[in-house]
Amino acid sequence: YQTFSGDLKWDHNDITYRILNYSPDMDSSIIDDAFARAFKVWSDVTPLTFTRLYQGEADIMVSFGKKDHGDPYPFDGKDGLLAHAYPPGEGIQGDAHFDDDEFWTLGKGAVVKTYYGNAEGAMCHFPYTFNGKSYSTCTTEGRDDQLPWCATTADFDKDKKYGFCPSELLYTYGGNSNGDKCVFPFVFLGETYNKCTTEGRTDGYRWCATTSNFDKDMKYGFCPNQDTAVIGGNSEGEPCEFPFTFLGKKYNSCTSEGRSDQKLWCATTGNYDKDQKWGFCPDQGYSLFLVAAHEFGHALGLDHSNIHDALMYPMYVYLEDFKLDKDDIDGIQYLYGPKPGPGPTPPQPSKTTSSTSTTITTPNPRTPKTPDTPTASPSTPETTTQSIDPSLNPCQIPIFDTMSEIMGELHLFKDGLYWKLKAKSNIKGPYRIQETWPALPNVIDTAFEDLLTKKMYFFSGRRFWVYHGDQVLGPRGIEKLGLGNDVEKIEGAIQRGKGKVLLFSGGKYWRMDTKTQLTDKGYPRDIDDMFGGVPLDAHDIFLYNGSYYFCQQSYYWRMNNRLQVDRVGYIKYDILNCP
């Protein structure tokens, strides 16, 4: 290994980072996760910690850019140079830049997260079968609204699991429109546009207006790339057009003809000779996680290594099961020392659940918010409860229905069961919800303990229950609390002082007085009016150990009582202390 001249390193161990923008190639949550995992590669072997900031100057500023992107080292289009980073220090030092003319994936082709549908945001499963035909990309088949969709299991015809693929007809990212979808046609500088455009920008990113007139409303967002979109060239984001004509010959698939570098390309109109519109065909792409882990090595003070198997070797190699090489560990520990405390616990052999003691109840599908199923609505899965398997490990639960601190213990609810966490690694359960609170249903959206009266409130859909010891009141409708008919469910609750609780739903919150059991006047308010830097679509919000937790998928954003996000992490690893 090598370090930079003068052994450049950070003079503190609590490193901060900030993600300035996103690539259109993957969902922002997948990019966040790739970066978080890349930092974890280094924090696992050193005393360094990494905290994500959402505003202001962080030690490591992470961004995507193309060609000339604001520093003296322009990127070079697709392939070749993938990313670079600066050694530790002030200003641009420590920053990491990723070439957005690359196709960013997790190393094995397009990563397509789904939205809406009934698969709870699962990834597309390629290939999949629909109406007996195999598909390797998202498709608009079976729909008349041009929304691309995919199955999230191998066989849609059998499983009926699906979701919608990234599309500007569904959402945008970045910009100033909170993720609103594009509105077509829209007017920009007096011209009418029927699709996303790069006009008006020098960075090559595709954008659209989210109202019909950008000149008037100035509302815009960036267009996500579809899995069939070409990379680079002069038609970024457009799909290939087959067949296309090139030098008078027709092509029905991507070709390397005309190129000396053997890269596959296609035209994005029917005639390249006439229109000269083209781009590279999507390939396996580069693993953002692996490249980021390498770049963050630079940002921490490691130069290139000449050991082939080291992460800090300058060439990109995709590895399915990445493990930090001894050379990298030696290098980073030369700068920062080893991680204090005992080494990681060796993995335990997985416990096999016998076929007779299956326990988990099938989760209810989340209510699709907009689009319908491609062909037929999936039938509602049956909810069955059987005997409790004591080996059922909360570390195997991807997302809990809700979490809440009750009587000093964090309670984790999922499908009729709950676990109690008193301290890290001290998880008890599972217990059956109805054995403790017989009136409650299996799925609890939110629970909290009123600090003033010690009453426990449980919400499920539009109903709620209040437990005081063994006595129960409910179910009652949430309209009794003053919540309107548009509130489908309560997604989270946090206690604010004695006798006041904030209830969250759909990006808004209400303040409830637990004495009168009514919401206060002047509500609802937008979450981001008070809580900046947390996901607005958090599916669970709760108070734990004096901090507010906003959960989205497997991550949490922790906010202190000064309403600053002071940590983002994994629920499994940080809160439950799973191996």
Binding site: F75, L81, H84, E257, Q276, M315, Y316
Partner: protein
């Protein structure tokens, strides 16, 4: 029908490397990653061969000092933009 198809290379609009010859590509690579100093290159103070040897040694290739196929292939591989040799 049996005649070999004549390959025609095209300059694709928007392609960054469209006009780079192999020589340009090699010089660009060696300079960008710190094996060849641009001033030295202009004054012929450091030969291409020395720079190639330096690169081959650094990246664990056979040290021929020549632009062989293996070296050229490595130059075409995707990589990090931070120079291997700091100036």
């Amino acid at each position: 029908l049996c005649a070999p198809m004549k390959t025609v290379f095209v300059n694709f609009p928007g392609d960054v490397l469209k006009n780079l010859t192999e020589e340009d590509l090699v010089n660009d690579y060696l300079e960008r990653y710190g094996y060849l100093n641009s001033k030295a290159r202009n004054t012929k103070q450091m030969s291409l061969s020395k720079a190639l040897t330096k690169m081959q040694r650094y990246l664990g290739l056979e040290e021929t000092g020549q632009l062989d196929e293996e070296t050229l292939n490595v130059m075409k591989q995707p990589r990090c933009g931070v120079p291997d040799v700091q100036n």
